[in-house]
Every structure is written in structure tokens, then in C-alpha cells.
């Protein structure tokens, strides 16, 4: 194939047909405007954060192995669980799927060469890093003991920990998230390949689009909230301080106006990944494509109307609690639409149980439990009992870990050949899945029981009757940890000595599998013109489905 000189610039431009990984040298990474490389840098950053947050989680569980002191004192424990929350939420989960995986896959799925604003994309990454530095500074200089929710007046008046740099970190990283959202919205609107109509848009793109809308609409509210909190702590503004005529519950309203939609920033892209995996490994078009796509937007919209369910016992009026409870139940509709449509997609599909699909199915199972237990908490009378117990902890871990992390890992397995050009060891991948799946359920199923029996969350100590369940949960965390270590080893082995990946190792008909692995510099060797949908298996030729 003849090489065409690239006319970007006078200097020796890299060959657009070469792999995006071909160029060497640190500067070629740090100053890159290539969405794929920026995505890879995000990927490394979020994986390091995940490791850090994971270590904190293991420490928290270890401390809870026995009542009273096990390995650390109560103050340290408060710091460790707070850091676990802050790191996992702000440094890992929020950027995990959209900014890392979405950055790499969105332009490829759209059949284009880059996101709409490549410089802004790189700036978003550095803003994230800048925020992470603040977080690191806070960790070194005292950490935080407020929990990831920074509730006032404790965070504004009483905590002696390094709250300001940590809030600053979340504030700054918020802008990274907003700018990524702005970038993706413009990208989905204006960068689609010729023939890629909205009705042919891959479901992952729909999910990223819905997520971006939430990022743009919700994150600024967090930004102003955290800014007010910083000034409340520095200047004692008084607006969150009851002794000065302010209102601490106002902070909770502000915080959850962001943080409930933020849960959808975390879960909606995960659902997008699962939609892709389910279709590819069932060799079928999704059942109800349009409804799956619209349910992402539905979740984005409903997400803004339900924040009050975090304040049922914070002194809201009875009337508001009823409204918020009813609205929260509505969230079950778009979530249910997705679950049922995925299951209907599986029905009579030609199911292939390779590792990405295991995670896809694992997601359906675990997210269903996470979603349904959310309805328990949305019920007013039940919430009074379960509020601030381990039931809540278990519920959101089923959604965030059982949902988002499982989908993130599933997506990593699924697109790994595209990212790296290497295959991984399927056997080890399956072992890792089994360990993660069992470990996760052992860890958190026991916490549902603990919570329903009244074990409050965030406590350092507990009554002796909770010992067994706490120990089961801690042992579960070890199995989960081992599962992730096996996975890490498997991925490192793949990078070092993995078999070369074919262009289409899963036999998918979606656009991203028609281009070489690893992705070429310009994503495609020829400008793609889309003539059919991403899941049109019924129109596929033998050659398209071929795995080599």
C-alpha cells in the first residue's frame, strides 16, 4: 500500500497508517493531541487511582475484622475511609469510563479522526492531573476525615484535617469533567462519519452523550457548592452554619443536586459498555435499540429530580419527601427498560461466553440487585430504618462496583485488543472474573444483612453480634483483591508477550472492529462512510464476522 505524505505540517509527519502507539518518547505522549493517547493517559491515571482507593478499601475492611482496634486507631480509620471514597469517586469512577475509555472509543465509533476539540481534551487531562495533585497534597498534609460527602458543619467548622485542598481537588477535577462533557457533546453532534445517523449511533455513544449532558449540567453546581464550602471554611460566611443564621441542610441539597446525577455519570456510560458487549457476544442487534438509547437520556433527565432521597431523615417536609420518593421510583423505569432489553437481546442470540461477556452478564446480575435495593431506600418508611446503615453502603457498591467497575473492566477486556494490539490469556481472565464476582458478592451481600440488622455505616467499632458478618465481608474483600491482582498480572503479561490481536477478535460488525488493532493514527485507513447500523448482524457477510 502506497504511503501518502500527510500534509499537516512541513516537518516529518508520522505515517497516519501506523499504529497510534508507534511514536516513541515521553514528549510524544505529554504533548499529544491524539484522543487515543490522551485516553490511554487517563486510563493509566484512573487505574493508579483505583489501586490507591482499593488499598484503602482493603485497609478499611481489615480494620473491621474485629470489634474495636484491629490495625489502626479511630482517627486514622476516619481518614482511610474518607480517602477511599474521595479517590474512588472523584479520581477513579467519574473519569473511568467517559474520559478514559470514551476518549479512545468515541471518535472511533463515530468514524472520525478525533474529538471536536483536541486541545481542550488535553487540557482536560491536565486539569484532572492538577486536581489530583491537590488531592495528593491533602493526603500528605493531614488527609480528610469528612467522608467523601463533605457534610457541613463538620467539614466547614470542626474537622482538623486538610479539607480545603481536598475540596479544591474535587473542584478542579470537576472542570476537567465539564470540559470533557462539552467536548463530547460537540463531537457527537458534529463529528459523525458520513451516513452515521442518530439512529445508527452505537449505544455506547448514546450513553456517552447522555453522560456528557449530565456532566455539563450537574458538575457546575458541585463547583459552586464546593467554592461556597471553601469560603465558608476560610471566611466563615455563615450560609451553612446554623449558629450564624445559615443552613447546613442547604449544603446537602446543593451537594446531592450534583452527586445524585453524578451517580448517573458513573453508571450510564457503564450501561453503554454493557450494551456493546451484549450485542457483540450475542451476535444480535439489541432488542429495542431506540429504547435503550432513549433510556440513557431518560436517566440523565430523571437524575436531576431525585436528589431529595438523600435527605429523607434530614428534616425535609413530609410533602417533599413524598414527591422525591415517587420521583425516585420513576428511575426504575429507564433502568428496567435496559435490563429487560438486554435480556431480550440474549434471547435466541448466539451467545459466546468469553471474558468480556462474562462481565456483561455479571453487570446485569449485580446491577439488578443494586437497582432493586435502591427502591427499598426510596421507600420512605423503610429508609428511616436503613438510612446511614451498611445497607446503603452495600446498595451503592452493588451499583458502583457491581455496575460501573464490572462494566469498566468488561470494557477493558473488550477493547483491549483495539487499545494495545495484543490478546490476553482467556483462561486467566476467566479465573479473575470468577474471583472478582465471588469476592464482590461475599463482601457486599453480607453488608446488606449487616445494614438491615442496624449496623451503621462509617463506624469504627461494632457490637459483637455483627462480628461474623463483618469477617465474612473482610474475607470477601481479600478474594476480590486477589481477583484484581490476577487480572493485573494477566494484562501485564499481555502487554509483555501477548499474542498479536486480529482486527476483529470477537467477530463483531461494529465500526471499530473494521479498522486495524491497535488503532492506526487516524483511526481508519480510509475515511469511513457508514451504510448500515452497528449491530446489523443479519446483513453481515461471512468475512465481516470472521475473527481474523
Amino acid at each position: 500500500m502506497a504511503t501518502v505524505a500527510s500534509p499537516h505540517s512541513g516537518t516529518a509527519a508520522p505515517d497516519p497508517h501506523a499504529s497510534y502507539l508507534a511514536q516513541k518518547g515521553l514528549a510524544s505522549w505529554l504533548f499529544t493531541l491524539d484522543h487515543k493517547r490522551i485516553g490511554v493517559m487517563y486510563l493509566v491515571a484512573v487505574l493508579v487511582s483505583f489501586l490507591l482507593g482499593g488499598i484503602m478499601a482493603i485497609l478499611v475492611r481489615l480494620e473491621l475484622l474485629t470489634p474495636g482496634r484491629t490495625i489502626m486507631d479511630a482517627t486514622t480509620y476516619n481518614h482511610v475511609f474518607s480517602l477511599h471514597g474521595v479517590i474512588m469517586v472523584f479520581l477513579f469512577i467519574i473519569p473511568s469510563i467517559p474520559a478514559a475509555m470514551g476518549n479512545i472509543m468515541l471518535p472511533v465509533q463515530l468514524g472520525t479522526i478525533d474529538v471536536a476539540f483536541p486541545k481542550l481534551n488535553l487540557a482536560s487531562f491536565y486539569i484532572y492531573c492538577f486536581g489530583a495533585c491537590f488531592g495528593l497534597y491533602s493526603m500528605i498534609h493531614g488527609g480528610v476525615d469528612t467522608g467523601w460527602t463533605f457534610y457541613t458543619p463538620y467539614s466547614s467548622k470542626f474537622s482538623n484535617s486538610a479539607v480545603i485542598p481536598m475540596i479544591g481537588a474535587a473542584f478542579i477535577m470537576g472542570f476537567s469533567s465539564i470540559l470533557t462533557g462539552v467536548n463530547f457533546i460537540a463531537t457527537v453532534h458534529k463529528m459523525r462519519a458520513k451516513g452515521l445517523t442518530w439512529r445508527r449511533l452505537p449505544l455506547f455513544c448514546w450513553a456517552l452523550y447522555a453522560t456528557s449532558i449530565i456532566q455539563v449540567l450537574a458538575t457546575p453546581v458541585l463547583a459552586i457548592t464546593l467554592l461556597l464550602l471553601i469560603f465558608e471554611r476560610v471566611l466563615h460566611l455563615g450560609i451553612f452554619d446554623p449558629s450564624m443564621g445559615g443552613d447546613p441542610v442547604l449544603f446537602e441539597h446543593f451537594f446531592w443536586f450534583y452527586s445524585h446525577p453524578a451517580v448517573y455519570i458513573m453508571i450510564v456510560p457503564a450501561m453503554g459498555v454493557v450494551s456493546e458487549i451484549i450485542c457483540t457476544f450475542s451476535r444480535r442487534a439489541p432488542f429495542g435499540y431506540f429504547f435503550i438509547a432513549m433510556s440513557s437520556l431518560g436517566l440523565a433527565l430523571l437524575g436531576f429530580l431525585v436528589w431529595g432521597h438523600h435527605l429523607f431523615v434530614a428534616g425535609m417536609s413530609e410533602y417533599s419527601t413524598m414527591v422525591f420518593s415517587a420521583l425516585t421510583f420513576l428511575v426504575g423505569i429507564p433502568s428496567g427498560v435496559k435490563i429487560f432489553n438486554w435480556i431480550a437481546t440474549l434471547y435466541k442470540g448466539s451467545i459466546d461466553l468469553r471474558s468480556p461477556m462474562l462481565y456483561g452478564l455479571g453487570f446485569i446480575f449485580l446491577f439488578t440487585i443494586g437497582g432493586l435495593t435502591g427502591l427499598f431506600l426510596a421507600m420512605l418508611a423503610v429508609d428511616v430504618h436503613l438510612h446511614d446503615t451498611y445497607f446503603v453502603v452495600a446498595h451503592f457498591h452493588y451499583v458502583m462496583v457491581g455496575g460501573t467497575v464490572i462494566a469498566f473492566v468488561g470494557g477493558l477486556h473488550y477493547w483491549w485488543p483495539k487499545f494495545t494490539g495484543k490478546m490476553y490469556d482467556e483462561g486467566k481472565a476467566r479465573i479473575a472474573f470468577v474471583l472478582v464476582f465471588i469476592g464482590f458478592n461475599v463482601t457486599f451481600m453480607s453488608q446488606f444483612i449487616l445494614g438491615s440488622r442496624g449496623m451503621p455505616r462509617r463506624y469504627y467499632d461494632y457490637l459483637p453480634e455483627f462480628t461474623t458478618l463483618h469477617q465474612v465481608s473482610t474475607v470477601g474483600s481479600w478474594i476480590l483483591g486477589v481477583g484484581f491482582i490476577v487480572m493485573l498480572v494477566m494484562f501485564i503479561e499481555s502487554l509483555a508477550s501477548g499474542k498479536k490481536a486480529t482486527n476483529n477478535p470477537w467477530g463483531s460488525v461494529a465500526l471499530e472492529w473494521k479498522t486495524p488493532s491497535p488503532l492506526p493514527l487516524h483511526n481508519f485507513l480510509k475515511v469511513p462512510v457508514v451504510t448500515k447500523g452497528p449491530y446489523d448482524y443479519h446483513l453481515a457477510t461471512e468475512e465481516e464476522l470472521s475473527e481474523d
Binding site: V182, P220, V221, I224, L237, N504
Partner: protein
């Protein structure tokens, strides 16, 4: 090779476009390499800017909601505390900002018509208005500092500096000034950022970056400026004109 052949079969490609993703000979200098047409680039920039402005609105919304809640709780306090703000300066600043929005819009018009000198003139006028706004704001702040009308715990009204004949300030008036300083402070930062961006756009205009066919930078900066103006148009009556 099989893969490339498959890709070629499946996806027709435009004749003459070859492999270079639209890097045709008619690719103007201002067109970034990942866009096909100037219109696509302009539309993308416009959508991005509107999305950004929406987030700006939501950013300010937190302050407005806090304002609404506390005003409904303490209406008398808000009315008394508002008395201490200088309406003349506030109204003057409103006129200055409104005028600067006009000059910003005229700068866009001049850029669209390719009138480089007029564009520069209007941008300079806009920048001057923005500076005027900040100078007036400085004198307002200065008076508040002298009178001890400060946010939160630093609130210590000095009766010599208060407006003569004004109603007694209730004890929780610090909340009004907390919100006043947060709102006008954040708005002021936006004005300052606007000045910086306009100076950059002015330099680009002088350098000859813009033309009838490409004036995105001027257009987007003016959009941002209108938002800064709009926020002030709400802040002025809410803070200065309540009684």
C-alpha cells in the same frame, strides 16, 4: 492486507479524498486538520460554547438559589442590608456592561464583514468598558471594607461609614454580604477573564487571523461576554434594588 481490503469493501470512500481524511488542496489555513469543512468547525465550536455557557449558568445558579432561600427567610434583613449598596454605582455599572455587550456584538458584526480595523476598535471599547466596570467595583468594595460590611464573621458595621438615615442592620446581615461578595466576586472574576480573552482575541485580530470566512474566536468571546452581562443584569436588581 485482508483487513484493509475488508475495510475498503465495507466503506466506500470519497473519490480524491484518498487516505488523508479530507486534507484536500482547498483546506484553508484556519481549518483544523480533523474537520472536513469550515462550517463543520464553526458549528462544533458554537455547540461547544453554548454547552459551556449552560454550565456557566448552572454555576451561578447555586448563588441564586442560596440568595432566594435566604431572602425568603430574612426579607427585612435583605432589604435593610441592601440599603447600604450604592445604587448609583450599580446602575452606572449596569449601563457600562450593557454598552459593552453592544460593542462586543458590533465587533462580531465587523469581523463577519471582514472589517479588521473596526473589529479591533470595538474589541478595545469592550475591554475599556470591562475595565471601567472593575474600577467602579473596586470603589464599591473599598467602601464596603471601610464600613465593615464584610462577609460572615468579618462583618462589623462601622456606623460612621453607613448610609445616613438607613434602617438598622439586623444581626444576621453578614449573610447578605456573604452572598453579595460571593456573587459579585465570582462575577468580577468572569469579567477579568473576559478582559484577558478579549486581549488575546485582539492580538489574533491584529495578526490577521480572522476574516469574513473565519471569525469564530470573536463570535465565541462575544457570546461569553453576553453571558457575563446577563448575570449582572440579574445580580443588579436582586442585590441593589430590593425594598
Amino acid at each position: 492486507m485482508t483487513s484493509e481490503a475488508a475495510a475498503a469493501d465495507e466503506y466506500e470512500h470519497k473519490e480524491g479524498d484518498g487516505h488523508d481524511h479530507g486534507h484536500g488542496h482547498d483546506h484553508p489555513k484556519y481549518l483544523a486538520h480533523h474537520f472536513d469543512t469550515p462550517a463543520q468547525q464553526f458549528d462544533a465550536a458554537k455547540i461547544g460554547m453554548w454547552a459551556f455557557l449552560v454550565q456557566e449558568l448552572l454555576f451561578f445558579s447555586g448563588i441564586f438559589v442560596a440568595y432566594g432561600i435566604f431572602r425568603s427567610w430574612y426579607p427585612e434583613m435583605f432589604s435593610a442590608a441592601s440599603h447600604q449598596l450604592n445604587r448609583l454605582m450599580g446602575a452606572g455599572n449596569t449601563i457600562v456592561l450593557l454598552f459593552s455587550s453592544l460593542t462586543a456584538a458590533l465587533a462580531v458584526r465587523a469581523a463577519q464583514l471582514g472589517q479588521k480595523r473596526n473589529t479591533s476598535t470595538y474589541i478595545i471599547l469592550t475591554i475599556l468598558c470591562a475595565f471601567t466596570f472593575l474600577v467602579v467595583k473596586y470603589f464599591e468594595y473599598h467602601h464596603k471594607f471601610e464600613a465593615g460590611l464584610l462577609p460572615g464573621q468579618y462583618f462589623h458595621p462601622d456606623h460612621h461609614h453607613l448610609v445616613a438615615g438607613s434602617p438598622e442592620l439586623p444581626g444576621n446581615s453578614h449573610i447578605f454580604y456573604s452572598l453579595y461578595f460571593m456573587a459579585t466576586g465570582i462575577h468580577g472574576v468572569h469579567v477579568a477573564v473576559g478582559i484577558g480573552v478579549f486581549i488575546w482575541i485582539l492580538r489574533r485580530n491584529e495578526r490577521g487571523d480572522f476574516s469574513k470566512d473565519y471569525y469564530t474566536g470573536v463570535d465565541l468571546t462575544a457570546l461569553y461576554w453576553h453571558l457575563v452581562d446577563l448575570v449582572w443584569i440579574y445580580l443588579f436588581p436582586l442585590l441593589y434594588l430590593i425594598d
